[in-house]
Every structure is written in structure tokens, then in C-alpha cells.
Symmetry: C3
Subunit: 266 residues, 3 copies
């Protein structure tokens, strides 16, 4: 595995401009569309089953986010997810609020049962809820976990077969066999709604251009974290941070990623 | 009643970080989430009845906003609102466009009949429509009222039992017995979509940390208005205003509120 | 036809402040609301059939956008559109993604069959799909067309009876008899989600204040393009561009439009 790939993936996204189909929440959907553009990919949102199924088949990746779910929306996710599975399109799941309410937890497991998920992006609480290792979720925020973060991420990967990106002050990326920690990022990312959703959009944007979902997810986490660090160094609050975050990602060069990337095997 | 409380409430929101559950419109929902974060609270949006009911029970406050309503959404609001009532969670209602169309007016009265509302936040037209004192609403904007603003706000409070925040160039806050006018604010707030919705989110954010909903609503109006004044003094249009508004609230200190607060008993 | 009108329409929007009713997607809806305000009009979003029908009747224009469609939403568009037709309210259609999936294409033709559309705003692919002149749409982006852009725009206008605004590096505005090309604009407009939707909102904002939909659509395209040019000259990425775009439109003066307008008869 050539770790160089991590630094070159953003340019590959820009060269290939994959179509990233989202079935997502109505809170952060605009930022998800725009972060996808800033990474060089092309976003599309389609949630009606017929529309979603057809769009999933022609997409480079499918991002499922249960932030404002309903049973109908979950059904659409499953229909689109199955179609994506048939055509080899990677599926990213963001189980927003799994563990906070019964329907969020059950819907997460329903999607995981019906669709082969390529990457799960979640906070420590959500990942631990899926792993069954004891996670607490309050609204859509992690409310703490019982065990070791790495163990929970690995258990989540083992159970689901997915690559897992567990976001937090330190991100963890694992496919159950290989694991990385990522120290890139900035506390201001926790003061802007939807940074988790955006991370999932970036996992989707990077997935189609890499052979290895661990590497694409790692690259997404590192690149986003670096953009956050740069934006965080000059902002005066969450909204100037947001402007800087998106603009910085849009202008990000390979050299910047190489220079600031801060991850290691764990 | 210690008027000092008004200046200290923002810090209490930040210390307690209450979960503010919204069932709201898809137009301004992102700004509602982020303004809640900027005040120091934690937003969650959940509109599917099962999800909304469970979320309402664990929330610090529930904000209902009919900006893009449907009968199904209103039903979800009532289910969540009843649950909030049972568990003592304050419920804030933003009757967006009440008076503009039949369904908006009827849905407002239906919610008021089924749910015990703690705080109603509306423009002069909407509040007057609820009060029955003659209000005109054009789209989602106030189109003028027949009588005195204070009389309409007091009548709305008397009829509903709720504390009323009537927003406008001068805000009025009343619980029917005690009334305040708030002169903080900036004209640019009328040139940004959703400032009314944001005011309701702030009423929700402040409600759980105060004993007195009149004081928490007054603090919300004053604090938001001051952020608007500061943002308005340096912006070049609605979007730089928005960035400044959110960042200013995020950084707002007690001293700033004490210094600029401009309200009085009426 | 007095070409001066083009430069004076923005001030007419501000003077008359028409109510612009949108039934639109949940991705870019906030920007659509705010761009409408920045042009001087008053946005309202209402999608539930009863609400939409009533709102359409009192609006200055109705904007239909199928960016995140469902059959129910398309039905609401048709109900509101028919009501708008009865009351003489101009209807703008943005056929987002027509040609990309079966339901988007079919829904576009269904709306066109049931509602008399005043203005169609689309990218080259979408307009060519409607015209039947060979258009490719990938997600919500134009993927190329077979013939001449002007021929496609004219054919679309001939088939539908609508004025057509085909957006792209060069915009084309035609009512089938008279045609203009507009060179205003900036490449950054292609790197921000929803600039197409915003263009449709502006067509809606300008339509009620002009006698001639060709002129109002041309004015919308020119004015938006100039705002894009000015914003693009000083931005550092899509989000600082967005802030500048909205603020620039908000402050735009007749003199600026006169100075920078770059369109010609074709």
C-alpha cells in the first residue's frame, strides 16, 4: 500500500469528478452539496424511490444520512442502496443519532441488514451503538462511550464488514485489520452544524477514485481535518469558519495535504 | 425578579448546553441549528412522529415552526408537543404565516388547542391574527395590524396563556401581566430570511435555563438584537451580515449584553 | 421595445416588492429565499397543496423547481400552477435534472402539459431534453447537447410557448421570435450549488414588474451575471463568492447594471 495515494486522491477526485448521490437530511444538505463541489465531485440529491434508484445506478457513490429520517426515507435508502450494491457503487452510511431514539437505532440496523455498506462514518457514540460496545448519543451528538474508541471502531467494522471512520477530536479509520488515527482537525468543527455530514460526503467523494476504501476514507478525514485547521486559525466564529473551511478545501493543493497530514498507524 | 438574570442567561445556556428539539421548516432549518449552537445549546431536528415524540421527551425545549407545514407535520408537532407537556419541557411556537393562508391559520389554532404553548414568537401580523385583534400577513411577513402592538401581544398572551415575543423594529415581550419593549436590533435583520425563526430557536435555547419564561424570552430578544446591531454596523449586505450575526453571538460576552441591552418596562 | 427597461427593472422589483411563491427543492431553498430578498422581492415557500394553491393566487410569481421532486410535490406544483394560471400569475419552471432520470423527465413534461409556463430556466442539457433536440444531463448538470444551443432554446420555446433562459458560460434568452445572448457571469457560479435555482428565483422576482417576460428574464440573467462577475473578482472560493454574490446583488445600482451589462441580439 502506497501511502502517497492519500495525498494524491483529492486531485483524482477533481480529475474524475464523480457524481455523488445523497439521500440525506434537510438540515445540512446544502453544505453537503457544496462540500462535495469543493472537493471536486458533483453532488446530486434524490430521495423519491424511483428517482433515487435510478440516480444510484449512475452515481460514483451513494451517501445515506439518517439525520431527519422517516420510514419512507429509510425505504428509499434501502432501494437505492440495493441498486448501488448491484452496480458496484460504494455506499456510505452516516447513522446520525443512532442510539438517541428507537427509530434511529432500528433504522440504522435495518439499513445495515439490507444494504452492503462500504463506509460507516459516525461519532464515537453512534459507532459504539452499532458495535454494541456501549455508546450514548444525545440528540445527534456523542454522549460518551464505555470502552476504547479503537475497539468500538474495530468491532463496528467486524460486525458490518464496512470501513469505519469514527470522528472526534482524534479520528479513527479502520477496516478491522488496518487502523489509523488522524489528529488533523480543529475544535471549531464541533461548533458548526453538519461537519459530520460533510465528512460523510467527502468519504463518498473520495471512494470512487481509490481502490481501497480505507485509504479513501483516511484521505477524506485528513483532507477535511487540514481544511478545518487552516480555517480555524483565522476565523472569528462558526460562520466565518464555514466560509474559510469550504474555500480552503476548494483551493487545497497536494503540497498542503503532504505538509499538514497528521495520521499514524495504530 | 432580578433583572441581572437577563445578562447572565447566555452563560447559563453555555454551561448547561440544553438539547433544543426543532420541528421546523426546510427553508431556514440550517440557520436555526447553527444559531442554537452559537448560543451554546445543542440542536436536534426530528419530525417523524415516533422520532419527534421520543426526542421531545429528552429535550430541554421544543421549538415548533410552521413555515413549511403539512397536515402530517402539524400532527407530528402535536404529538411531540403533548409529550413535551407531559414531561414539563417548554414548547415554543413560531406561527409562520398565520393569517396568510387558511391552513396556516387553522394549524396554528389547532396546535394551540392541543398543546400547552410556553412561548409564542411571531411578527405583529401573526400575533394579531392569534389575538383576533386584526392582523394582516402577506406570505410570511407582517402586513400591518389594526390596533396597538402591545394590546395585541397582551391579548395573544391572555388567550393562549403563553409568553409572547412579538418581533419587529421594536420587540414586545409580555406574559400578559408584565411587558417589556426591546429596542435592540438592526434593520438588516429584516433583509435576511429566517431571523424570526432564529429568534424562536433562541427563545427555545434560553427557556430551559430560566425559571421565568418572560425573562428567558426577553434575554433571547435582547441578546439576538445586540448581535444584530453589532453585525449590522460592519456588514455589506445580508450574507456578510449573517456571518457577523452568528459569529458575534458565538463570541458574545455578558459585558457586551450589559452594555448594549436596551429594553424597558411598558 | 425600450432596452432601457432592462436597467430599471431591479429598482422596480424593490419598489413593488412582489411576493414570490416557491415550490422548490430542500437543497438550495435557503439561497433561493435570500436571493429573492436581495433582489428586493419577498419570498414565501409553501408546498402543501392547499397552502400552495392559496399562496399562488396572492403571489406576484410562482417558481416551480423539481430539484428534489416526488409525485406528491409535482401534484402540488400542478395545483398551484393551475391556480396561478387562472389568476394571471406568471409561472417559472426550473426542470432540474430533466433528462437524468425517468421521473424527472416525465414530471417536467407533466407540468408543461398541465400548467401554462411563462418562463423555463434550465441548463443546456435540460432545455435540449425538453426541446427534443438531444440533451444529456448528468445528475443535475448539463452533460452536453447535440445541436446548437440557440436552436435548442428556440425549439423549447416553440414547443412550450414559454420564454426560455438557457444558462451556461453564455446565457441565451429567447421567446422564439427574439433572442439574446448574455455574456455576464463568472466561472465560480458553476462551483456553487444552486446558482441555477437562484437564477430561476430572479426570473420570478423580475417577472411581475415587467410587461414583457423576455425583458424580465434578460434583466434577471444580466443582473445576476454582473453580481457574479463582481463577486468572482474578489472571492477566495465558493463560500466567500456566495457572500459577495448576495451582498453585491443587494447593493446593486442601476448604474452598475448599465455599466457592466453585456448582452446582444442574436
Amino acid at each position: 500500500m502506497d501511502s502517497q495515494d492519500i495525498f494524491g486522491l483529492l486531485d483524482k477526485v477533481r480529475a474524475e469528478k464523480p457524481l455523488i448521490h445523497h439521500i440525506t437530511n434537510y438540515v445540512t444538505v446544502n453544505d453537503c452539496a457544496n462540500i462535495t463541489i469543493c472537493a471536486g465531485a458533483s453532488p446530486v440529491m434524490a430521495h423519491y424511490p424511483d428517482d433515487a434508484e435510478e440516480m444510484a445506478a449512475i452515481a460514483g457513490a451513494l451517501v445515506l444520512n439518517i439525520g431527519t429520517l422517516s420510514p419512507e426515507l429509510v425505504d428509499a435508502m434501502i432501494i437505492a442502496g440495493k441498486r448501488a450494491n448491484e452496480t458496484g457503487v460504494p455506499v456510505i452510511l452516516d447513522p446520525v443519532g443512532a442510539g438517541a431514539t428507537k427509530i434511529r437505532t432500528e433504522s440504522t440496523f435495518k439499513i445495515l441488514k439490507e444494504v452492503r455498506i462500504s463506509v460507516i462514518k459516525g461519532n464515537a457514540g453512534e459507532i459504539s451503538v452499532i458495535a454494541g460496545t456501549g455508546g450514548v448519543v444525545r440528540g445527534v451528538d456523542s454522549g460518551g462511550i464505555s470502552g476504547e474508541p479503537l475497539k468500538a471502531a474495530e468491532a463496528c467494522s467486524d460486525l458490518t464488514g464496512a470501513t469505519v471512520l469514527m470522528t472526534g477530536p482524534t479520528d479513527i479509520v479502520t477496516d478491522g485489520r488496518r487502523s489509523y488515527s488522524v489528529s488533523n482537525g480543529h475544535p471549531m468543527m464541533g461548533s458548526l452544524s453538519g461537519t459530520g455530514c460533510m465528512a460523510a460526503s467527502l468519504c463518498g467523494s473520495f471512494a470512487p477514485v481509490a481502490d481501497d476504501l480505507l485509504i479513501s476514507s483516511l484521505a477524506a478525514a485528513v483532507t477535511f481535518g487540514i481544511a478545518g485547521e487552516i480555517a480555524g486559525s483565522s476565523c472569528r466564529g462558526p460562520y466565518s469558519f464555514r466560509t474559510e473551511l469550504f474555500d480552503t478545501l476548494f483551493r487545497m493543493k497536494r503540497e498542503t495535504i503532504e505538509r499538514y497530514a497528521d495520521f499514524r498507524t495504530i
